[in-house]
């Protein structure tokens, strides 16, 4: 997060983290999206922090953009951390022979994917900043295409096309390796 540092940012991060973790826990239990979807979570975070924010349509949009950025930042930070651990980072890691060790290895793969995606997204952003935001809002923020269009002040069909191309290109880039 750059530029818009406010005292609430730490709380935004902290709450966003909690939400992501809850989402993640639901994935693990196999009932993702039952009662929690990312948009609902962002709305909830907003409701909780709303008292400290200005209440205007502009501030709601600003908040959503910040939330998407926070989600990306948290996931990428976490992925970086996981990846560092895999490479024999700074902590003595014990490999338990319990039933969860499979998940451990898979998570490293997920972490590397996320890091690669983040790097590819940086390049996409330099090619077309608005398209970079589409990916950030839709994928990392979990906003729908319609919400993303509102947040960018453009049409749904435009965002739809931008997303499809971006998704294909980023996926292709991930397949290319670093």
């Amino acid at each position: 997060m750059t530029g818009e540092a406010t005292p609430d940012l730490d709380h935004l991060f902290s709450m966003t983290y909690e939400h992501l973790r809850r989402l993640a826990a639901n994935v693990k239990k196999g009932d993702a999206g039952q009662t929690l979807n990312p948009t609902a979570l962002v709305n909830e975070v907003y409701a909780r922090l709303a008292g400290t924010l200005e209440k205007s349509p502009e501030s709601v949009l600003h908040f959503k953009r910040m939330a998407a950025r926070a989600m990306r930042q948290i996931l990428v930070d976490a992925a970086r951390h996981r990846s560092a651990q895999k490479r024999g980072g700074d902590q003595p890691i014990l490999s338990f022979s319990d039933r969860e060790s499979g998940g451990w290895d898979r998570s490293f793969a997920g972490a590397d994917d996320l890091l690669a995606l983040d790097q590819a997204l940086v390049r996409l952003n330099s090619l077309d900043p608005q398209q970079g935001k589409v990916v950030e809002f839709h994928f990392f923020g979990g906003f729908t295409i319609a919400e993303t269009a509102d947040m960018l002040g453009t049409s749904r069909s435009t965002v739809d096309r931008q997303w499809r191309a971006a998704r294909a290109w980023l996926t292709f880039q991930l397949g290319q390796g670093p």
């Binding site: 991060f13 989600m71 996931l75 003595p92 014990l94 972490a111 096309r161 292709f172």
Partner: protein, 876 residues
Amino acid sequence: MNEKGTLDAAAWARIQSLFHEALSLPEDERAAFLERLTEEAPLVLANLRGMLAVDAGEASVMDRGLAAAAGSVLEGTAPRIAQFGPYRTESILGRGGMGVVYRAVRRDPDARVAIKVLRDPFLSPARQERFQREQQILTRLNHPAIARLYEANTLEDGTPYFVMELVEGTTLVDHCRATGADLYERLDLFRQVCRGVLEAHRHAVIHRDLKPSNIMVTREEASGTARIKLLDFGIAKELRDPTTDVTQTEAELRLMTPAYASPEQIRGEQIGVATDVYSLGVILYELLTGRMPFDLSRLSPGQAEACLLTAEPEKPSIRALRGEEGGLKPVLVPGNQDWQDLDAICLTAMHRDLKRRYASVEVLLQDLDRFFQHEPLMARPDSTSYRLGKFLKRHTRDVVAVALVAIVLAGLTAFYTWRLRLARDAALAEAHKSARIHRFMLDLFEDGEGAGPERSLTVAELMDRSVAKADAFDADPEIQSSLYQTLGEIYRSLGKLEQAEQLIARTLAMRKARLGVDHPDTASSLTSLGLLRQAQDKPGEAEDLTRQALEVLRRHFSKDHPRVAEGMSALGFVLADARKFEEAIGLLEGAVAVLARKGERPVYALALERLANARALNGEYALSEAINERLLALNESLFTTKHPNYADTLINQAWNHRMQGHFDKAERLYRQALEINLHYHGDQHLVTASNRALLGGVLEHLKKYDEATLHLGKALAIRKRLLGPHHSRVAVTLNGLANVALNRGDYATAEAMYKETLVVYRGAERPRPDWIGTGLSNLGSLYYRQGKYGLAERHAREALASYAKVLPPDHLEIAIVRTKLGVFLMHQACYVEARRELIHAYETLAGKPDPNAFWLAFAGSSLDDVLAVLEVAESQ
């Protein structure tokens, strides 16, 4: 081919345009379309082909969505840390919102523990603070129903963790389901939960996340009894400052579990003890019926919240008719008449309206007790709780007042209301059991003792409010006098002696008028006033009052009754401070003997502490040391080794070491205590200042002058700021700094400081001859160092005269000053006189059951010198 470096915005635009064009074609025409693009740059083509190839697939991280991405890096990926200090991890017990909990083992001595480590600490400082707060809260809580904290530390990379009691068992609901627990077993477990929560409230901690998965049931190995342990104080909150609006920022860092959250929590309003009462109500509902009060499973979070805020729960008895859910059977068959009471208790506990809900866990517990004893409930319509609720209505916006008023006043009110239904005499005897309320109040405020301005301001506000509330009780003088006395004692422990005086004196007057002088309650007020006089430095009055109280108590109870022992303990304490050691120690020994068998542990601990202190004051350091060892063991079980009470005993014990010349042992204990006190009280607290001053004194003996000056200097600054420049403690600290200056050879500083010390001592409201004696004796040492032997001798003699006013002739301090005097005389060639002083000193020192090694050696060697000189003189 490297596409990455060369792709630019124009090429990217071209790629996208071709991409969308290709997608608009039927799939079987796309290959031909690509064939025709012979004019395009290879880079554009390569990207286009790649994108089209993956467009149809569903393979990448992009398609699995945010939740899956979060799942892959945030869940199931806890760092598996092999070693925390001496602990080796064995498995993962759980993953909570804040951290991961490991099961770990330590060899030698064998110990199994749970270790909680903050997950992803790099993500946000707010989470680190919250984790730290949980640890601090656990440090304060010590109760069989709350998992104990053993130690806290950080990994090399700064990740914080703490080591806790390992709780192995099943969650509350699972336990009841598996064992088929009946009504009484379930309610017994529930009451244990309530008592654990109450303990937290007594330390002004609100749990805020009570739910069955945070409540474990373990089995005691020996008896097989089921025991409750509360876990996860991760979002617990401390009630401290009534002025801070906590609702927005820190309060909602983490979401509560909606099903157990109170309406005020959901609305983001201020919360207090009643919030936990609500969650307890929901848990009770689940235990009674086997079902949740509301079915939220098909609702969105918004709908769930609306439901919790508006829907009325069905009566548990009705809900139980719907049959079991998840295998936990309803606790009673339909139609059982106990349902009526259980409905009332449960729905009162989880009442949406704060005014109608039980005002505290204590009141809820009392109603459960009444249920067991088949007495009318407060929760039943038109009951006291409703009236009480009205009484408390004005205070519901004020969290701290709610905590205070709800727990204490409500507890007392409920107690006395209930009591009226019983025979008056029996009730009066019972009333003394309400001493626990009393004690709770004192415990609650002990933290504030000598607090810095910020917190004492808060406490002062609270106290003023509480007094105002007590004033409103004038219809029932009995409650009112209990409250005044309690509040007065709190003021005393806060050092606000004038306010204490007003309230305690008022209580005494009320009780004398209503009950007469010869009544145990009046005696309790007399003791209270006596201890206040003690704090006011009026030992004569303190002795009269506590003695009078003891006489009354002895008339009403047998001589081995704990209340008599308490009276002995108070008088013994007062007498010891007045240097009447023989009687003091006799009384305290007697009190300890009774309380060891019959007393409440804290009361027993207090008597042991007083006895140890009396022995130490009397110079019997080895005996005091032995008592303190007992007290340390007791305090470790009563509190923890991180608790300030433990630190207090360490400090007393260090003094015994110090006075026996074991400075290195003393240093170690003072440092151990300082660590606890810094952690608990912070750096600007009088307790910490006192700890530093003592450590400084020992460091001076160990010739670590720089460090000694540092600690004493900090202590002096805090004491001057908080106590004013003329306080005796300021003088004591000055004296310590002067000693260091003296030993460093900085005589000018030392002399100025010693003299300033004496001015403070002599200017005290009631000068203490023994302190003045020490000041004079030290000044004597200074002049001796400077070779001013005559001046040194004069000061030693003055010191001796001053000591003689209050100390017995064979007291250690007198022996020390006589040793000094002997040495000063020797240097003036007054050998015969010197010999007399030194022999007397040496014999006194050697005759002690636990001789002071340093002074004994010093007196001995000086005496040898004098004797050698005299021998030469006589042989000539």
